[in-house]
Structures are given as structure tokens and as C-alpha cells.
């Protein structure tokens, strides 16, 4: 069973979202997603300053198997991409919820966060897939 922390929000496309409490959120991919992808060998994180729509593909994670788009869970402006992933993309495998974060975003509508899945909702998404 994969790890689904209770304090995070989630998307159906397997991103997690952490509310940093300062008008920004941090985004990564879930433990379930990294396990399904396998060994991750390349990450293209978004540039800071980029404006993104909700559900817009804004990062790419490549495993040994294939390339996968990462979608922005919310509309807003990219504050920072995780530069560490350029040299250690496998941080997503070893620490999907901490060192393996992919980007930080300043949502244009902070209230939209509430519309994402909670841990229980995401767990059902994972169960439906298997």
C-alpha cells in the first residue's frame, strides 16, 4: 500500500499539493505515481515566473520506461522549480513528498485549493485504478 499523507491535497492525475500557508503551494507526484513510473532519470521542472492554467502540463518526469507530463493542479504563477532534481531526479523515488517536490506555485485563487481531493478521495482514485 502506498503512502498518502493526510495533510496534503491531491489530483486525479497523481500530483500532491501542500499549502505552505504563505500564499504558495508546493507540488509533487505521489508515492503511488513514483512507484508506477519506476526509476526516475530526468526531470524538467518549470521556470519561475511562468503563468500556468489549472491542468496545464508544466513539467516532465521521465522514468526508465517513459516520459510523463506533470499537470499544474491550480492556475497561478510558478515561484520556483526544484533545481536539485536536475542532478538527483531519483529524489522523487526516494522522497516523493519532501526532497522530491517539483515546483512551488502562487495560486491566483487560493480558495481553489479546497476543490482538490483530500487523502481519502485520492485513496479511492488509486483503488479504482487497481
Amino acid at each position: 500500500m502506498s503512502d498518502i499523507p493526510a495533510d496534503l491535497k491531491y489530483t486525479k492525475t497523481h500530483e500532491w499539493v501542500r499549502d505552505n500557508g504563505d500564499g504558495t503551494v508546493t507540488v509533487g507526484i505521489t508515492d503511488h505515481a513514483q512507484e508506477a513510473l519506476g526509476d526516475i532519470v530526468f526531470v524538467e521542472a518549470p521556470e519561475s515566473g511562468r503563468e500556468v492554467d489549472a491542468d496545464e502540463a508544466c513539467a516532465v518526469v521521465e522514468s526508465v520506461k517513459a516520459a510523463s507530463d506533470i499537470y499544474s493542479p491550480l492556475a497561478g504563477e510558478i515561484v520556483e522549480g526544484n533545481a536539485v532534481l536536475a542532478d538527483t531526479p531519483d529524489a522523487i523515488n526516494t522522497s516523493p513528498y519532501d526532497e522530491g517536490w517539483i515546483f512551488r506555485l502562487a495560486p491566483s485563487d487560493p480558495g481553489a485549493l479546497a476543490g482538490l481531493l483530500d487523502a481519502a478521495g485520492y485513496e479511492r482514485v488509486v483503488e479504482d485504478e487497481s
Binding site: 519506476g38 532519470v41 530526468f42 524538467e44 516532465v60 521521465e62 526508465v64 517513459a66 516520459a67
Partner: protein
């Protein structure tokens, strides 16, 4: 649900991620495909390759039949146990399959063909066997385990039946030793030393478990693909197929042109292609910019499309990305590859990228 090899329950027991491959349910990896790759380069790994099909060809005309069927020449197999890699071509010079053929005796040969093409291959062989006194016998009673890596032979040898063990330790690369239904080839698909062991289905689980106990790492199809790509070895259906022949897929060395009177299937088409100045070249690529090379990405030279990647991926030994590509002749030492719409710089290199644990290209 796909077909299952005799080792299917072992893969489940080891927690493998199973995927469909050539009609079979096979292990992709058992946790980390990169660790499995390194195990083969550094110590020893084992692969269930029981989905591949041994096919015995026997009879007074066995040699004559194979000299007609295969682009390489089995008459080169002068001593018993010697093996040869060959393409089996259609009349247009396309590849029906690539295979290994072992000489077992004057009238006895064993071919090992790919899983996904096995039924078609056997139908092809039968369709071209008229007039030859031979018997074609697919050996579905045999399992196959490939043990590969610098320590593979010394770890596997003590686990072989005594009757085949001493011979197996003495054979040179590209030879096989056999006794009863055990057949041990010093061959493989990784660029490392090792054995490919054919044995009765009923004994496969015991050997697999014994190999695991002695420290051989179970490896899946994922590592098999990155290992063969680093070794510069072709994958059927990806690097060549029924429409693309050996001369455009880096396999010209496997075509035996001499003696000229040997009329193998596809020869006429290949002879025409041999002198065609537009014939495409098959090259290796090393990505120098950022990203991962993948099959079907376009190869560009000064912004103009000159070819396509046939196999690409991450190369764990090089900690970078490499590919095999088919390109128009005359490409220089550098090019670009289009990744997600953007050109990324690459170097043109000569495979293999890695052999026997050592990087063979300049970086």
C-alpha cells in the same frame, strides 16, 4: 491474461511488476531496474527468457535448409557447439526475425527465436521446408534462464548437472555444451560474459531458486533492454523488422555474401541494396544536451530531418542517454534530436557503448 512461463509464480513471489510482452506476462523489474542493470555489469543477474522459443532442426538436409533460410551461413559452424547470430529474411530483404543458431552435430541444429514472432517464424520455416529432408521441432518443453555478468559463470556452474558442468566451464564465447535436455550456451544479450541455460520446464524453479540463493540478482525486461542498448544490440520489431533489412540496421556483418552461389532467401534484394548510395546508415547517439532519447524521435542535422531514433533510453552505466538511430548517409559527428519540439545536441558514435563493464565511447 498472457501466457506464463514455468517461473511465473517465482516472479510473483519476488514482487515483480508484471507486464505483457510478446503475448506473455513477464517481469519488468523486481523493484529497481537500474539496480538490476548494475548487478549485471558488476556481479551477476538472471533473466527468465523462457518466452523465447528453442526450435530444433534435424535431418540429413538440416544444413542445406538453414543455408537457404538464413542470411548468415551455418557452414561456418565447423565445430560442434558453435553458435552464430543471423537474420532470417523475406524475399524483399526485410527481417522475419533475428535468431541464434547452435550447431549440435552434423545433422542437428538448434535455433532460438523471439517470443512475439515464434509462431510466425515456425510457420515461415515450415513453408520453406519443401524438398528438404528435415524435422522442425519447437521445444516448448524447455525453459530458459540467462545468467549474465562478470561473476555469472562461476556462480552458475556449480548448480549445473555434473554431466554438463565441466564442459560448460571450458567452452569459449559463442559455444554451447549440452547433456540430455540441459543446454548451456556462452551467449547473451547484455554485453557481459555469462550463460543462457535451456533446461526442462520442470527443473526451472529449482535452478532459479538456487541461483538466487547463491547471490544472482533477478532482473526483468527493463534491465534487459538498457543492457542490450548499451551493448549496441538490436531489438527485433524496433531496430529492424519485415520492412527494414540488415544493411540499414547495423547488421551487415551478419550477412554471409560468400560463397556467391549460396542462394539464401532475400539475397537478390540485399545485393541491389548493397550498392545503393542512398542506403541509410545505422548509428549510435550520445545525448550531450539535457533529456532522454526515445524511439521515434527525429534526428536533425542543421535543422533538417535526417532520420529517426529506433531505440533510445537512459543508460545507467553511462549515467546519460543513448540511442540507436537510422539516418541518411553522410551525417557528421554531431546532430540534434527533437525532444518535445526542441532540438537537443547529440554526438554520433559507433556502438557498442559498453562491453564487459567498460565504457567504449568517448565522452
Amino acid at each position: 491474461m498472457g501466457l506464463r512461463t514455468p517461473l511465473f509464480s517465482e516472479h510473483e513471489r519476488l514482487g515483480a511488476r508484471l507486464v505483457p510482452f510478446g503475448g506473455w506476462d513477464m517481469p519488468l523489474h523486481y523493484g529497481s531496474q537500474i539496480e538490476e542493470h548494475h548487478a549485471v555489469r558488476r556481479t551477476a543477474g538472471m533473466f527468465d527468457v523462457s518466452h523465447m522459443r528453442p526450435v530444433d532442426v534435424e535431418g540429413p538436409d538440416a544444413q542445406a535448409f538453414l543455408r537457404r533460410l538464413l542470411a548468415n551461413d551455418v557452414a561456418r559452424l565447423q565445430s560442434p557447439g558453435k553458435a552464430l547470430y543471423s537474420c532470417m529474411l523475406n524475399e524483399q530483404g526485410g527481417v522475419v526475425d533475428d535468431l541464434i543458431v547452435y550447431a549440435r552435430g552434423p545433422q542437428h541444429y538448434r535455433l532460438v527465436v523471439n517470443a512475439g514472432t515464434a509462431d510466425r517464424d515456425i510457420a515461415w520455416m515450415r513453408a520453406h521446408s519443401a524438398g528438404f529432408a528435415i524435422k522442425i521441432q519447437p521445444r516448448t518443453d524447455l525453459a530458459m534462464i540467462a545468467v549474465q555478468g562478470p561473476q555469472a559463470r562461476e556462480l552458475a556452474a556449480p548448480l549445473l548437472p555434473e554431466a554438463v558442468r565441466a564442459n560448460a566451464m571450458q567452452i569459449q564465447p559463442f559455444f554451447a555444451a549440452e547433456d540430455a535436455d540441459w543446454f548451456v550456451g556462452r551467449t547473451g544479450y547484455t554485453g557481459e560474459d555469462g550463460f543462457e541455460i535451456m533446461l526442462p520446464n520442470t527443473q526451472a524453479t529449482d535452478l532459479w531458486r538456487a541461483l538466487h540463493t547463491t547471490g544472482v540478482t533477478p532482473c526483468g525486461l527493463g534491465a534487459r533492454d538498457t543492457l542490450r542498448l548499451e551493448a549496441g544490440m538490436n531489438l527485433y520489431g524496433q531496430d529492424m523488422d519485415e520492412t527494414v533489412g540488415p544493411l540499414e540496421s547495423g547488421l551487415g556483418w551478419t550477412v554471409a555474401w560468400e560463397p556467391v552461389e549460396r542462394d539464401f532467401i532475400g539475397r537478390t534484394a540485399l545485393v541491389q541494396m548493397r550498392d545503393d548510395p542512398a542506403r541509410r546508415e545505422f548509428v549510435g547517439l550520445l545525448l550531450t544536451g539535457r533529456g532522454i532519447l526515445r524511439s521515434h524521435q527525429k534526428v536533425l542535422s542543421n535543422g533538417v530531418e535526417v532520420g529517426e531514433i529506433t531505440s533510445g533510453g537512459f543508460a545507467p552505466t553511462l549515467d546519460g542517454s543513448i540511442a540507436l538511430a537510422r539516418v541518411t548517409p553522410g551525417l557528421g559527428s554531431t546532430c540534434e534530436v527533437e525532444i518535445r519540439g526542441k532540438p537537443v545536441a547529440a554526438r554520433v558514435v559507433r556502438p557498442p557503448f559498453v562491453r564487459h563493464g567498460t565504457i567504449r565511447i568517448e565522452r
